[in-house]
Subunit: 235 residues, 2 copies
DNA sequence: TGAAATAACTTGTAAATACAAGTTTAAATT
DNA sequence: AATTTAAACTTGTATTTACAAGTTATTTCA
């Protein structure tokens, strides 16, 4: 009946409290039984929420002791699905649209194999520069198969998470994905955007992102300048 | 009573079957209820095993349909805990010990903050080169705090997973961790080992690895040549 | 025959319960 | 007082039950 499941609500709540500093590093979260009482739910449900927090790297659990809040990462977390991207430095992380959103047709080879439906549909192209403290940190190039995305190209993307828009307007939620990482030399174009010399080492991520819409994936190619801040991930 | 929990057994079994090709990409695993019947366990237990497979990127689940086997990754999976390292290409992945194992004392700054106990204990140092198809793929430098690791320096590490040794002889299992990624220029030393020119882009991972032993972490600094095969990860 | 309704599957969420195992605190014993 | 023991916590594993929700195959009806 509930649109969002209970464990999700508890997860979001605890996550927010950790990010906001209600619980600090090393603190113990309320025990599972206490969370049960407070929110009037059962332990399996609480544990489902806590598992998600562990998976996101927000807490560690220790048998007999409790759920210990982890330190918030120093770098930028884009390795896990909702792990830390939305958690850290989102305040001073600005977004600049370089190209799009505009509809294009697939041409040439692509970083991931595409289905027939995807090929026929074309894609929405968005190229963005993400800026942290006035310094360009990463350039992300996004490919969203143009399947059931009405009025997408006319939406505003400035300083807004792509994920948020997909969730809010199209009820598309990211459920996971796969990625490849490489260290490459920046070419002329990437170098200009990231303000590094041509040939400078840059981290390249190629991602295929799965959603709650069955068989709907979208794709991102991300170039990171890791000189200032590293990419962070929990596992 | 059971030394290893049931869900772990089922997880290992299914994982092996996927890796061995019993279930191929796109195949459906037996349904949860079927796995219950076959292994004489209950659905929450089965689901715990399947969750672990999802987390490792081996399957995707679709409500109403089933558990769909994912494609085995092309690259080398060292991003997740037991995700794909041990799954892919372990046959032709050779290991060459460059230094150690030998006990050393901490000196100077370290990539992660250390506890007092860790500082006082020193660490076991191991430097290894991992070779895939006669080509050096990555160089890993490991720091294991020298706490309760009897006879560690005298063990043989050739062509053997560090994780395996820790599990087998010391009952230490990797439960998770955190990592930072950077694209850097190879220096003289790294360039020589990885057979790339000095200044060539190399992927650098700094990892703090958590274990089932409370407060026991170990650390790895990994340098990857991603020219031939990328680093792969599911999330 | 073709479309719609139904049944029989699948996974997702959730409750209530039980005991095992690790940690901490308090009490009892020496 | 110091040590040991026990109790009261904590999380880990597991069962049983129930219904919701999505998918597929079958049946029914027009």
């Amino acid at each position: 009946m509930a649109q969002t499941p209970q464990y999700r609500r508890i997860y979001e709540l605890l996550r927010k409290h950790i990010v906001d500093g209600v619980y600090k590093e090393g603190d113990l979260l309320p025990s599972e039984n206490e969370l049960c009482r407070v929110h009037n739910i059962t332990r399996p449900t609480v544990r489902q929420a806590l598992d998600a927090l562990v998976h996101g790297g927000f807490i560690k659990k220790q048998q007999g002791k409790g759920s210990i809040v982890s330190s918030l990462p120093q770098g930028i977390g884009i390795l896990s699905v909702s792990g830390t991207t939305s958690a850290v430095g989102i305040n001073n992380l600005k977004t600049k649209i370089l190209t799009g959103p505009e509809v294009r047709a697939w041409a040439g080879a692509f970083m991931f194999p595409l289905s027939q439906v995807e090929k026929e549909s074309g894609y929405v192209y968005i190229e963005r520069l993400r800026i942290l403290d006035e310094k360009p940190i990463f350039l992300d190039v996004n490919f969203l198969p143009n399947i059931n995305l009405p009025r997408f190209t006319s939406r505003s993307f400035e300083n807004r998470s792509l994920f948020d828009i997909l969730r809010k307007f199209y009820n598309i939620q990211v459920t996971g994905g796969e990625q490849r990482l490489r260290a490459i030399k920046a070419d002329e174009n990437i170098g200009n955007h990231l303000q590094v010399k041509k040939g400078h080492p840059v981290l390249h991520l190629e991602r295929k992102i799965a959603t709650n819409r069955v068989d709907y994936y979208f794709y991102s190619s991300i170039y990171c300048n890791t000189d200032i801040s590293a990419i962070y991930g929990a596992f």
